[in-house]
Amino acid sequence: MSATTEAPPATRREPQHRPGNRRTSPLSPGRLGLYAALLFFAIIYLYPFLIQLVTSVKTNADATDNPLGLVPDPFNFAAFDRLSSTDFPLWFVNSTWVAVSVTLGRVFFDSLAGYALARIKFKGRSAVFTAIIAVLAVPGIVLLIPKFLVLNQIGMYDSPSALVVPLLADAAGVFIMKQFFESIPVSVEEAARIDGASTFRIFWAVVLPMARPALITLTILSFQASWNELGHFIVASQDPGLYTLTKGVATLTSGQLGAGNQFPITMAAALLMTIPVAIVFLVFQRFFVQGANAGAEKG
C-alpha cells in the first residue's frame, strides 16, 4: 500500500527520435509547415490568456485604447483592489466549500455505487446499470427548470444544501469507477473475504486503495466540474449570500461594474477564478491528459 512513485510518462515513449533515425532532416518543407501550423494555433490558444493576464493590471483607459498590447502602461492594481471591496471574496469562499463538498461526496458515493455494480452480485444489478446509462443520456440543461421545481417542492430552494446535495452523485462518475473496479483482479479480494471481512471493509481497505488512479481522476473531474458549474447555481438559490464565483462574476458584466469600459476588473475576476483550476490542471495534468495508466499499486 505504499505510495510508489509513478513511472514518469516519458519512460514509455519509444526512443525513436534519436540522431541517426531516418526522419531527422531538420527542416523539410513538411516540417516547416507543421511548425507554422503549431505556431499559429499556439498564438490563437495562448494570446487570449495573455491578454486576460495583462489587462487585469492595466488602467481602464489603457485597456480600451490598447487592447492588443502586452505591456501595461502603467502597471495598475486598482482592479484587484476594487474586486476585493465587492462580494468577490464571499463568492470565492462559497465556491470553495461547494466544490470541496461536491467532490468529496461524488468520489465517495460514485465509488460505492461503482463497486456494487462491478463486484457485488445481486438481482437487479444490471437493471440499475442500464438505468444509470439511461440517465447519462438526459441532457443536463433540460433539467435546469425541473430541478428548481423539485428543490422548491421539497423546501430546499435557496438553502446552502441546495447548492451541494443535487450534485453529490453523477452517473458519469459511477460509470468511470465501475469500469475501473472491473479491471482490478478479483483474486485480491478473495483472501480478505475468506478471512471474513465485511463487504464494506473489503471495499474500503482492500479495493479502494488500489483504485488510486481512478479516484484521482474523478477528484479532478468533479472539482473542475463543480467549480465551473453555473446553471445549477442559477436555479438553486437567489440569496446573494449563496452566490458562487460563476454566478457572482456573471453579474459583474450586467451590473454597474460591467458598465462602460471597466475591463480590467472583469479580467481580474476571470483570472482569479481560473487560478484554482489552473493549479489543479498543472499539478495533475497527466491525469487529465493521459488517462492515468501509471503505477496503481505495486509495492
Binding site: 513538411g30 507543421l34 503549431l38 499556439a42 490563437i44 490558444y45 487570449p48 491578454i51 485604447d65 487592447p67 458515493f109 460505492l112 455505487a113 456494487a116 445481486f122 438481482k123 437493471a127 440499475v128 442500464t130 438505468a131 444509470i132 439511461a134 440517465v135 441532457p139 443536463g140 433540460v142 433539467l143 435546469l144 427548470i145 425541473p146 423539485v150 417542492q153 443535487p166 450534485l167 453529490l168 453523477d170 458519469a172 465485511s198 488512479p213 481512478a214 473531474l221 466540474a225 463543480s226 465551473n228 453555473l230 446553471g231 442559477i234 464565483l245 460563476t246 462574476v249 475591463f263 472583469t266 479580467m267 481560473t274 483550476v277 491528459v289 488517462g291 495508466n293 501509471a294 496503481a296
Partner: protein
C-alpha cells in the same frame, strides 16, 4: 427512466421459490443487502434530482401552474397539450420566440459541430507528429476546456468589443470589424448582399411574403447573426481541446505496423492519413459528433453571460428561452414544455446521426481498438487504468452541456 427507482423488494421476491436463495439469508442475501446499501446514496440523489424533476416537469408542462405555491396543489389545472400547441400551433409571441430560438440554435449547431470536429482532428494530427514540447502544446490546446465558461466568456466579451483585440487584428488586414455583440444582422443575409443575390435592406418580397411557423422565409434564411458568430468562435475554440484528446488517443491506438506498411507501399503522408488513418478513426468521429450535437443544442452559459439572447433575439436559444420564460415571465408550463421539446430535438438529431453514420464495421472496429488498447495496457504492466474515452465523455458532458455539473 423510471426504472432507476427499481424497488429492491420486488426484485428479490420476483426470484421465485425455485431459487434456493431466501431474501436476507445466507451469503447471497448479504450480498444483495450490501449491494443495495452501496447503491442507495447514488440512487436516492439521482432519483430525487433527476427522475423526480423529469416527472414533475412533465406534469408542469401539462398544467397551468403560475409559479405560486406547489405545482401539485389541487388548484393547479390540467390543460393537456395547451402549452405545446402554443409552441407550435398558435401564432403569437411565444411561437415566434421559440421558432427564433430554434433557428438560432440550428445555425449554431450547423457551424460549431463540424468546425470543432475538424479543428480537434487537425490539432490531434499535428500533435501526433514527433515534435519538441509536444506536452506543452497539448496542455495549451486543452486548457480552455477545463476553465470556467464564465471566465472565458468574460475574456471573449473583451476580445470582441468594437475596439477590441479581434477588430484590432482585422484592422491589420484592412478589415473594419463590426461591433460584434450589437450586430443582429444574419451572415447569410449579409453574404447574399455582398455577392448581389439580394439587398439585405430591401429583402425580396417572395421571401418576406410567405412564412412558416410564424417566421418568414427571409427570417429563417438569415444565418447566424454576427453576434452569434462571436459566440460560435468562442465555443469552437473552447471545446476543440477535449475532442482533440479523444482523437489523439485514437491516433495513438493506430498501430504503427499498418502505417508503416502504407509507407512501404509508397503512400504519401496525405494518402496515408486519408486512406489508412482516417477510416480507423471512425468510431471516434462518431463519438465526437454525438457529444458535439448533444452539447451544442444545450448552449446556455455563454448566452447567459455574453448576450442574454440579444441583439434583437438573434442569440436566443431554446435552453435560454426556457430559462427566461420560467424565471422572468413565470410561464412555467411553457418553459417546461420547451425543455421537453429540446430533449426530443436532441434525441432526434443524435438518432439521425446514428442512422447516417451506421456501419456494421464500426462495431467490429471499435472492438478491435478496445482490444488493442487493452493489450497495450497489459503490456505496460498490468496496471488498471481509466480509459481516455470515459474521461472525454465526462469532460464533454459536464462542459458543453452549458455547465450542468455532471449529468445530475
Amino acid at each position: 427512466m423510471t426504472t432507476a427507482t427499481a424497488d429492491p423488494a420486488t426484485t428479490t421476491t420476483s426470484a421465485g421459490p425455485s431459487r434456493r436463495r431466501r431474501p436476507g439469508g445466507g451469503i447471497h442475501g448479504q450480498q444483495a443487502r450490501s449491494g443495495w446499501t452501496f447503491l442507495a446514496p447514488v440512487l436516492v440523489i439521482l432519483g430525487l434530482f433527476l427522475v423526480g424533476p423529469i416527472l414533475l416537469a412533465l406534469w408542469v408542462s401539462l398544467s397551468d401552474w403560475s409559479g405560486q405555491g406547489s405545482p401539485l396543489s389541487s388548484d393547479v389545472g390540467f390543460v393537456g397539450l395547451d402549452n405545446y400547441t402554443q409552441l407550435f400551433g398558435d401564432s403569437g409571441l411565444i411561437r415566434r420566440d421559440f421558432m427564433t430560438s430554434l433557428r438560432n440554435n440550428f445555425y449554431y449547431v450547423l457551424l460549431v459541430v463540424p468546425a470543432q470536429t475538424v479543428l480537434a482532428l487537425a490539432l490531434a494530427l499535428i500533435l501526433n507528429q514527433k515534435l519538441r514540447a509536444r506536452g506543452f502544446f497539448r496542455s495549451a490546446f486543452y486548457f480552455p476546456s477545463v476553465t470556467s465558461s464564465v471566465a472565458i466568456s468574460l475574456v471573449f466579451i473583451f476580445l470582441f468589443t468594437g475596439s477590441g483585440a479581434v477588430n484590432g487584428v482585422l484592422g491589420f488586414f484592412g478589415i473594419d470589424g463590426p461591433v460584434w455583440f450589437s450586430e443582429p444582422r444574419g451572415v447569410i443575409h449579409l453574404l447574399g448582399g455582398t455577392i448581389g443575390i439580394w439587398d439585405p435592406a430591401a429583402p425580396p418580397a417572395g421571401l418576406t411574403g410567405s412564412s412558416f411557423l410564424g417566421l418568414s422565409w427571409w427570417e429563417w434564411l438569415s444565418g447566424p447573426s454576427v453576434a452569434m458568430m462571436a459566440i460560435i468562435a468562442l465555443v469552437i475554440w473552447t471545446t476543440a481541446g477535449t475532442f482533440m484528446l479523444m482523437f489523439l488517443a485514437a491516433l495513438q491506438g493506430v498501430s504503427t505496423e499498418v502505417t508503416e506498411a502504407a509507407e512501404i507501399d509508397g503512400a504519401t503522408r496525405w494518402q496515408k492519413n486519408r486512406y489508412v488513418v482516417l477510416p480507423m478513426l471512425k468510431p471516434t468521429f462518431f463519438l465526437v459528433i454525438t457529444l458535439g450535437l448533444i452539447g451544442t443544442w444545450q448552449v446556455f452559459d455563454q448566452i447567459y453571460i455574453m448576450s442574454q439572447g440579444g441583439p434583437a433575439k438573434t442569440t436566443l436559444t431554446p435552453a435560454y428561452l426556457s430559462y427566461q420564460y420560467a424565471f422572468q415571465n413565470q410561464d412555467w408550463g411553457i418553459a417546461a414544455a420547451m425543455a421537453f421539446v429540446l430533449f426530443a430535438i436532441i434525441l432526434i438529431f443524435t438518432g439521425v446521426q446514428r442512422f447516417i453514420m451506421r456501419d456494421k464495421d464500426a462495431i467490429a472496429e471499435k472492438r478491435i481498438t478496445r482490444r488493442t488498447a487493452k493489450a497495450r495496457a497489459d503490456r505496460d504492466g498490468d496496471d488498471p487504468y481509466v480509459d481516455q474515452e470515459s474521461i472525454g465523455i465526462y469532460q464533454a458532458t459536464t462542459r458543453s452541456s452549458g455547465g450542468t455539473g455532471g449529468m445530475t
